[in-house]
């Protein structure tokens, strides 16, 4: 019988009751008394000098309460980058100020230069249209290579469009160059990791509220990390003391990274709320979401793989241009560097790896972490060039990977790019993949497809990623300006039920179901008596939020540590109640028991005693039963996996059907197998979306040419293949108490190269001399590749 409670069980997601019955409470659902509404005036040119802004007509319009421009925020701070990166020559990165509202220049289409607050949303929008701006348009900086050589700048004051030129690891550079020069075989591949628009189901929204009586501010906002948002607003942007600012992230309809970051709209509604002494609400339209949410990916990469004639890897070398857009979003400098370059050894024993990344300002929406954040880019480059190398050398795609895999007896394994993998077993994953995809039967299926006029291909991929972000000491050395621990408070109530306040925020991940499973397992009580509190900075301890597949590995570990403290204190109380020694008390199935006897008290009795401490040893034990723990991980966790898929290509139209996708992941121990499966499926959906359908496209003038669902293709149900998700090969993480690894991003990391490898394989099988197709593999691109 599968478990029905605690770790390893798959209870249905309790949060789904409210989500599926329309009772979720999102930011826009919150309606404070006397609310006013903000609308932003946004640039329709990509690059230009603001000559003048005339707000007089707007101010005179019905219902208008206030109009703001960049001038109103000159005295406050900029929205900062969270990581300081240095160039190869030691110079610090260029870090131009990102103001609340554009001031002096507009730098991308959608850049807000003014905001109107009015009695109704319609009045605010009418007035925003009435703002007159005179912009001296400049040529748009769009293409990254041209940006680096051109003389038109996104930020004139820095006189270059390069943010930094980063080498990782610079000491590897000469040896890697030498190894490639002398290698028997070198495979080179140039590829684009396409820009994607996050497209969370819920657009961003914020409500600012201010109480003149107490001088307290409250921000309701679509955030993945309320404390981080509060810190950024307090310490960098508006200077509101943290103790005067509460940030609430209520139900949030998806983030995928785009809601990690602080955005200017949040500062605007707070400032406006103070000025007007009434609540100010803003809810993005879908068009605004397309234009202003931080986009993902957007790398142009040249990768070289050097090996011997048998396919034993000698070196990887990459040169990447990474787009950061018009401004540095909070994690934009970390994503293409330490979340990308450090993964460039993959799952392989390769002695030489060198990564060069130049980040480039362009007149486009900021680019930042998006589900996977750097690791998908690394995996794509590595796994595509390996496939090309295998084709060149005539080696089987699985064999070339297996012969280079790090072996189980090599852990901990330190790669040439600075990570120490703690554990894994890549051959075991590949074994499972071969079985579940029935690789041996592929040729027969290919023949069947051929009989139907279709080209069948198979794609194989081995990924590794680093998540459970992150050890604060390590990331501090690498330039992070924050720590990346998390925190939990376990409050046992007097009647024995439990509230767990966590720093992680759930916006689709299922924390409200999973964290109680952990606590229930440890305490031996029913998880139904345990609830999670998250999202309100005034209620939860200071945790860093949810991204980088960190919630269970980091915040879940804090939950474990806090629960351990509860158990220890409970033992002391029970020992007193049972007139025994602490050391003799054990907690079994929710009963504190004197070992070897039948003397016991229930967990609930101990809780009650803690809060009604009559006949209580107050000189030794404080009353109450509430404990907090902060947990800072010792290392990243390293999920890995073998992914495979089969595709059919219609040679007449170029249309690709993914027939079956098998994802074999090593997530270590799994707390809720159903939720893990759902997370992988969701990740596959996004990865397949990137591989097959999605690309945010700017024209030469800096207009986003597919800023709506009429032209931006999101994956639909019938774009998804049959999915097999297998996590039977877990190797328990060695350094966190649950032995867990992150699972939220894996699907999006491992799937794009799998799909592209399969399509290239299909075309090559029909004699087309195709070595690569850039994503997304739309029918027209695939057809062009066949008929090029």
């Amino acid at each position: 019988m599968p478990k029905d409670n605690g770790i390893g069980a798959s209870p249905k997601r309790r949060e789904d009751v409210r989500f599926l019955t329309g009772r979720g409470k999102y930011t826009d659902d919150i309606q404070l008394a006397n609310t006013s509404y903000a609308c932003f005036a946004r640039s329709d040119v990509a690059n230009g000098v603001i000559k003048s802004i005339d707000t007089s007509a707007a101010e005179a319009m019905p219902g208008v309460l206030a109009v703001f421009t960049g001038e109103d925020f000159v005295e406050v701070g900029g929205n900062p980058a969270g990581w300081a990166i240095s160039s190869r020559d030691g110079t610090p990165m260029h870090e131009p100020k990102r103001p609340v509202l554009a001031h002096g220049k507009v730098r991308h289409v959608g850049d807000a230069y003014a905001a109107v607050v009015a009695e109704t949303p319609e009045q605010a929008r009418d007035a925003a249209e009435a703002i007159e701006i005179d912009i001296e348009e400049q040529p748009a900086v769009i293409d990254m290579a041209a940006a680096l050589s051109g003389s038109t700048f996104v930020h004139d004051e820095i006189g270059t469009n390069q943010c930094f030129d980063w080498g990782w690891i610079e000491d590897n550079r000469e040896a890697t160059d030498e190894a490639i020069k002398n290698a028997p075989h070198v495979t080179t591949l140039e590829l684009i990791n396409n820009r994607v628009v996050p497209n969370a189901m819920e657009p961003r929204a914020s409500i600012g509220d201010y109480d003149p009586g107490t001088d307290e501010y409250k921000l309701y906002t679509t955030s993945q990390n309320p404390h981080l948002t509060r810190l950024l607003i307090s310490a960098f942007v508006l200077g509101i003391p943290e103790n005067k600012l509460t940030v609430v992230a209520p139900d949030v309809g998806g983030g995928f990274g785009s809601k990690i970051y602080h955005y200017g709209e949040e500062a605007l509604v707070l400032a406006a709320a103070k000025k007007l002494a009434r609540p100010v609400k803003w809810t993005a339209s879908r068009s605004e979401a397309f234009l202003t949410d931080a986009h993902g990916r957007d790398h142009v990469t040249k990768i070289e793989l050097a090996c011997d004639k048998e396919g034993n890897f000698i070196a990887f070398r990459t040169e990447t241009l990474a787009n950061v857009g018009a401004y540095l979003s909070n994690f934009s400098t970390a994503t293409p560097t330490f979340l990308h370059g450090t993964l460039m050894a993959g799952t392989y024993t390769v002695p030489n790896v060198y990564v060069n990344v130049k980040t480039v300002f362009t007149n486009t929406a900021p680019v930042d972490a998006y589900r996977g954040a750097g690791r998908p880019e690394a995996t794509y480059s590595i796994e595509r060039v390996i496939d090309k190398c295998a084709d060149e050398l005539g080696i089987d795609k699985i064999e070339i990977r297996r012969k280079n895999f790090i072996q189980p007896d090599q852990y901990p394994y330190t790669t040439p790019v600075g990570l120490s993998y703690d554990i894994g077993n890549y051959d075991a994953l590949m074994d499972t993949l071969e079985r579940r995809l029935d690789v041996a039967g592929f040729e027969a299926r290919r023949a069947e497809s051929a009989a139907n006029g279709k080209l069948r291909g198979i794609g194989i991929n081995s990924y590794i990623e680093a998540c459970g972000i992150a050890p604060s000491n390590l990331v501090g050395q690498l330039g992070s300006r924050v720590g990346l621990y998390d925190a939990a408070t376990v409050r046992v109530n007097a009647t024995g039920n439990i509230s767990v306040m966590v720093g992680a925020h759930s916006h689709g991940q299922g924390h409200e179901t999973v964290f109680p499973q952990v606590v229930a397992e440890m305490l031996g009580i029913d998880e139904a008596s345990i609830d999670i509190v998250h999202g309100d900075s005034s209620k939860i301890p200071f945790g860093m939020g949810t991204y980088g597949s960190r919630s269970l590995a980091v915040c879940g570990s804090a939950v474990v540590r806090a629960t351990e403290k509860i158990i220890n204190k409970g033992k002391k109380i029970a020992a007193h109640m049972l007139e025994a020694s602490d050391a003799d008390i054990e907690l079994v199935d929710g009963q504190f028991t004197v070992a070897g006897t039948d003397k016991s008290v229930g967990f609930g009795d101990v809780a009650l005693k803690a809060y009604i401490p009559h006949e209580f040893p107050l000189e030794d034990i404080e009353p109450g039963l509430e404990e907090t723990a902060f947990y800072d991980p010792a290392n990243f966790t390293y999920p890995s996996g073998a992914y495979g898929c089969e595709v059919e290509v219609d040679p007449e139209t170029g249309k690709v059907d993914i027939l079956k996708f098998v994802a074999c992941d090593d997530f270590g121990n799994v707390v809720n197998p159903m939720i893990v499966e759902g997370q992988v499926q969701g990740g596959l959906g996004q990865g397949i979306g990137q591989a097959m359908l999605e690309v945010g496209t700017y024209d030469a003038d800096g207009q986003l040419t597919n800023g709506s669902y009429m032209d931006y293709a999101m994956p639909r149900a019938d774009d998804m293949p049959q999915m097999v998700v297998d996590h039977s090969n877990g190797t328990a993480c060695t350094h966190n108490p649950l032995g867990v690894k992150g699972c939220g991003e894996a699907g999006a990391i491992g799937s794009p190269p799998t799909v592209v490898n399969a399509v290239v394989n299909a075309l090559r099988s029909a004699g087309h001399d195709v070595t690569h197709i850039d994503m997304p593999l739309t029918p027209s691109r695939v057809w062009a590749a066949m008929n090029g």
Binding site: K655, A713, P779
Partner: protein, 261 residues
């Protein structure tokens, strides 16, 4: 959207009168107009909803002709135009269920989106567009992208389709919108075959006369296998260039013929 007046008349005559107001606009199912209004890209003084006009709804089949009221939804055509199976199939594959429940044939033909499905059926069938003032042959009706022979305030009250001996519509979907990247409607009549192409041309729906001649002589896939459509004047966009669309015209024509045969 900007403010506008709203009327929902119950007869064609009332609708025509309501549309006499300057900058008034007829509202069919709203599948194009409502998003346009929400984007503030149009500012009609008044919307005149045609959805309450009973005489503009319904499907009848009589003597080889299927007549569909201009206010009839795609879903109703899919379910009720069994006398013209290819037309019912086309209607049943427009958009998604929500679109099919709201969108109307009259709205689609009046809008004449270059990627819409219905114009190809109307043109390939040699349909008659019936308005409140006149009857217009399909060959005279479509005048280019988003342009038709309709006058200001003129309402499509019905569309009459001669039922062909054989017909099929083959659509290759644009991945995002799922409108036709290229859609080809082939209809075989006693006096010849008509082939209409949507989604492909900068001038909107058009007849591929070369294929019509070949198929009129020999209604088979082989008859069009060697034909290639010209890429001149075809749309190039994110989803496919003119050469790709020209190629797809050939492929979709073959598939339509195969399905109709």
């Amino acid at each position: 959207m900007y403010e506008f007046d709203f009327e929902r008349p119950s007869t064609i005559a009332e609708a025509v009168a309501a549309l006499a107001t300057e900058d008034a606009q007829a509202l069919g199912g709203g599948q194009t107009l409502i998003p346009t209004l929400k984007q503030r890209l149009a500012s009609p003084s008044k919307l005149v909803s045609l959805s309450g006009i009973a005489e503009m709804k319904g499907i009848s089949a009589d003597g080889g002709t299927v007549t569909i009221g201009g206010g009839t939804s795609h879903a109703a055509v899919a379910a009720g135009a069994g006398a013209y199976p290819a037309l019912a199939a086309l209607a049943g594959n427009i958009g998604d269920p929500a679109v099919r429940s709201r969108g109307t044939i009259g709205g689609s033909l009046a809008n004449n989106d270059p990627s819409a499905c219905y114009p190809s059926a109307a043109l390939a069938s040699g349909a008659t567009i019936v308005t409140n003032t006149r009857e217009i042959a399909a060959d005279d009706y479509f005048e280019g992208m988003f342009t038709t022979a309709l006058e200001e305030g003129e309402i499509i009250t019905a569309v009459r389709f001669p039922v062909p001996d054989a017909a099929a519509y083959a659509k290759f979907e644009q991945p995002a919108s799922r409108f036709a990247l290229v859609g080809v409607f082939v209809a075989k009549y006693a006096d010849g075959v008509r082939v209409a192409v949507t989604g492909a041309s900068e001038d909107g729906v058009f007849r591929w006369t070369e294929a019509e001649e070949a198929l009129s002589a020999n209604f088979s896939v082989d008859a069009v296998a060697g034909l290639s459509a010209s890429a001149d004047g075809l749309i190039s966009d994110l989803h496919g260039d003119a050469a790709y669309r020209a190629h797809l015209i050939g492929v979709m024509t073959k598939r339509a013929v195969a399905a109709a045969s």
